[in-house]
C-alpha cells in the first residue's frame, strides 16, 4: 500500500517510467518549465471506500495536443477524468485545469466531456438533444449542424436517441461534447463500438482539433489508438506507469507494436515492483 513513508517515496521511480530510455529518468517535455500545459496534476489521489483508485498521479498535459490516456479497464482512467472535471469526490493533491482549480465555476462550458456511458436523453431526438446542450452553452444552430456532420449523424437528426445503436448514441454524446468548440475536450472511450473507418476518421478529427489549438485528453483501452496520439499516459492499478510520446514507448520497450510495448511495460512494472 502506498504511504507517506520515505521508503515508499524512494521506491516510486522504479514504478513510474516516464519517457525514459534505458531506464534513465528524464523529465517529460510537458513537465519542463516553459512548456504550456492545459492540465497540471500534482500528487493526485482518489479514494473510494478503503481503496485508493488513483495513487499519486503527477503529470502535465500539453496544450494543443492529443494526449491518450491508456490502460486496462479498472486502471483509473475514468476516475482521473472525473477528477479534472471536478465531479469526483475525495480527490486530494492539486488539479489545475486551464489555470483554474478543477471544478471551478469558470470552467463550466469550457470543457467538452464525453462520459463513458452515453449521456443523452433517450426520449428526445438527436436534434433535440443537441438543441438543449446548445442552449445551455449559448451556441447557435450552425454549430449543431457542424457537429452532426462531424460525427456522421446528419441523417438521424429526427430520430429518437433511444432508437439509435450503441455506437450511434456514443457519437451523439460526442457531438454534444464538441458543441461550442471548447478549448479542452475530455473523451472517455469515444471510439468503443465504432467501425474501423469511423474510428480512423474520428482520430483524424481529434488531431485536427488539436492543430486548431484545442487540448484533447482521450481514453482508450485499445493500444492501437496510441499511434494516433501526440502524447501518452499509461495507467495501471491507479498508478501512472508511463508518460511520453508513442515513439518513446516503442523505443524504450523495443517492441514493434503498441500492444506489445504496452504489455511489456506492464509486465516490467509488475516484476519491478515485486508483490505490489
Amino acid at each position: 500500500m502506498p504511504t507517506e513513508a520515505p521508503e515508499a517515496v524512494s521506491a516510486r521511480p522504479q514504478r513510474r517510467i516516464r519517457g525514459t530510455v534505458a531506464g534513465q529518468p528524464r523529465p517529460h517535455r510537458a513537465d519542463l518549465p516553459g512548456v504550456d500545459t492545459a492540465i497540471q496534476l500534482d500528487g493526485v489521489r482518489v479514494r473510494r471506500g478503503d481503496i485508493e483508485v488513483l495513487q499519486d498521479v503527477t503529470a502535465g498535459i500539453t496544450r494543443g495536443a492529443v494526449t491518450g490516456l491508456l490502460g486496462p479497464s479498472g486502471s483509473g482512467k475514468t476516475t482521473l477524468m472525473r477528477a479534472l472535471l471536478g465531479v469526483q469526490r475525495r480527490v486530494s493533491g492539486r488539479v489545475v485545469v486551464l489555470g483554474q482549480p478543477a471544478g471551478a465555476a469558470a470552467l463550466r462550458g469550457k470543457i467538452g466531456y464525453l462520459t463513458q456511458a452515453p449521456s443523452v436523453y433517450r426520449d428526445l431526438t438527436v436534434g433535440e438533444n443537441l438543441a438543449y446542450f446548445a442552449r445551455l452553452l449559448g451556441v447557435g444552430h450552425d454549430d449543431i449542424a457542424q457537429v452532426l456532420e462531424r460525427v456522421g449523424l446528419g441523417p438521424h437528426r429526427h430520430h429518437l436517441a433511444g432508437r439509435l445503436s450503441g455506437g450511434e448514441q456514443t457519437r451523439l454524446s460526442l457531438a454534444t461534447a464538441l458543441l461550442g468548440s471548447p478549448p479542452l475536450v475530455v473523451l472517455d472511450e469515444p471510439t468503443v463500438g465504432l467501425d474501423p473507418v469511423l474510428r480512423r476518421d474520428l482520430w483524424a478529427f481529434f488531431g485536427e482539433l488539436a492543430r486548431g489549438g484545442a487540448t484533447l485528453l482521450v481514453s482508450s483501452h485499445v493500444m492501437e489508438d496510441a499511434e494516433s496520439c501526440d502524447d501518452l499516459l499509461l495507467l495501471r492499478d491507479g498508478r501512472l506507469i508511463f508518460h511520453g510520446s508513442p515513439d518513446q514507448l516503442l523505443g524504450q520497450s523495443g517492441a514493434t507494436t503498441m500492444g506489445a510495448a504496452f504489455l511489456q511495460i506492464i509486465e516490467g512494472v509488475r516484476s519491478g515492483s515485486g508483490a505490489a
Binding site: V87, R89, R108, Y121, L124, L136
Partner: protein
C-alpha cells in the same frame, strides 16, 4: 433567471411529448377517477362536493410529485446529470426548469379535470373554476418541488415509487380529505398543521365553498409558496456536483 431554466423546461416538455402514453394517463386518469367517485357517491352528492372539489386540485400535486421524482432520478442514474454539472447551469436553474415544465403540464391536467368535474359531474364553486385551476397549478409546483427534493433520497425507481405511500398518503389522510381534521386525535391535528398538503387542501376547500375567502386563504397560499421554495432550495442542496 438565466437561459438555462427555460431551456430545461423546453427539454423536459420535449421528453414528455415523445411519451404520449404518459401524457394521456396524466390527463385522463384524474377525470376518470373523479367520475368513479361521483357515481360511487351517487346518493350523497354533498360528500362528493366536499371531497371531489379539493381533489381536482390535489391530483396535480400527487401526480407531479411522482413524475418529477422519477424523471429526476433517471437524470441522476443515466449520467446526464453528471454531464449537466460540467455545463453553465446552476442547480437552481435545473430545479426551476423542472418546475416550469410540470406547472405547464399541470395547467393542462387541471383544466381538463376541472372541466369534467365542474362541467359534467355537477361540482360547483362560487368563486369560479378559474380559481380552482389556478390552485391546481400552484399545487403542481408544490408537488414538483417536493418530488425533486425527495428524489435525492431514492437510489432506484422502486424506491422513488415507495415515497408515494410513505410521503404523500399520510398527508392525504391527515389533511382532512377523508375525515375532518377536527375529528382526529389531538396530536394528529397538531402534526397536520405542519404538513404542506393540509394548506393545499384548505385552500381548495375555501375555493369550493360559498363563504368569503378571507385571510385564511392568504395563510394557505403563503404556506404553499414557502413549501415550494424551501423544497426547491433543499433539492438544489441535495444535488451534489461531486459524486464518488
Amino acid at each position: 433567471m438565466s437561459r438555462a431554466a427555460p431551456a430545461t423546461a423546453v427539454r423536459v416538455l420535449g421528453q414528455l411529448r415523445h411519451d404520449p402514453r404518459t401524457v394521456g394517463l396524466i390527463i385522463v386518469v384524474p377525470s376518470g377517477f373523479l367520475a368513479l367517485l361521483r357515481y360511487s357517491l351517487s346518493g350523497r352528492l354533498g360528500t362528493f362536493q366536499s371531497v371531489g372539489a379539493p381533489l381536482v386540485g390535489l391530483f396535480p400535486l400527487v401526480m407531479m410529485f411522482l413524475v418529477t421524482s422519477i424523471t429526476m432520478l433517471r437524470e441522476r442514474t443515466s449520467g446526464t446529470l453528471e454531464r449537466l454539472m460540467t455545463l453553465p447551469l446552476s442547480k437552481l436553474d435545473l430545479m426551476t426548469g423542472y418546475g416550469i415544465a410540470f406547472a405547464i403540464v399541470a395547467a393542462a391536467q387541471g383544466s381538463v379535470v376541472a372541466a369534467v368535474g365542474f362541467g359534467l359531474l355537477g361540482l360547483h364553486s362560487d368563486h369560479g373554476t378559474a380559481l380552482v385551476i389556478g390552485l391546481a397549478v400552484a399545487n403542481a409546483v408544490v408537488g414538483t418541488s417536493l418530488g425533486l427534493f425527495v428524489s435525492a433520497f431514492a437510489r432506484t425507481e422502486f424506491q422513488a415509487v415507495q415515497f408515494m405511500p410513505a410521503f404523500v398518503f399520510p398527508q392525504l389522510l391527515l389533511c382532512g380529505l377523508v375525515v375532518p381534521r377536527a375529528q382526529m386525535a389531538g396530536a394528529l391535528q397538531v402534526v397536520a398543521r405542519y404538513l404542506p398538503l393540509t394548506y393545499a387542501f384548505d385552500a381548495l376547500g375555501r375555493a369550493a365553498r360559498s363563504t368569503r375567502l378571507g385571510s385564511g386563504m392568504r395563510t394557505d397560499l403563503v404556506a404553499m409558496t414557502l413549501t415550494a421554495l424551501v423544497a426547491l432550495f433543499l433539492g438544489a442542496l441535495t444535488l451534489p456536483r461531486r459524486t464518488a
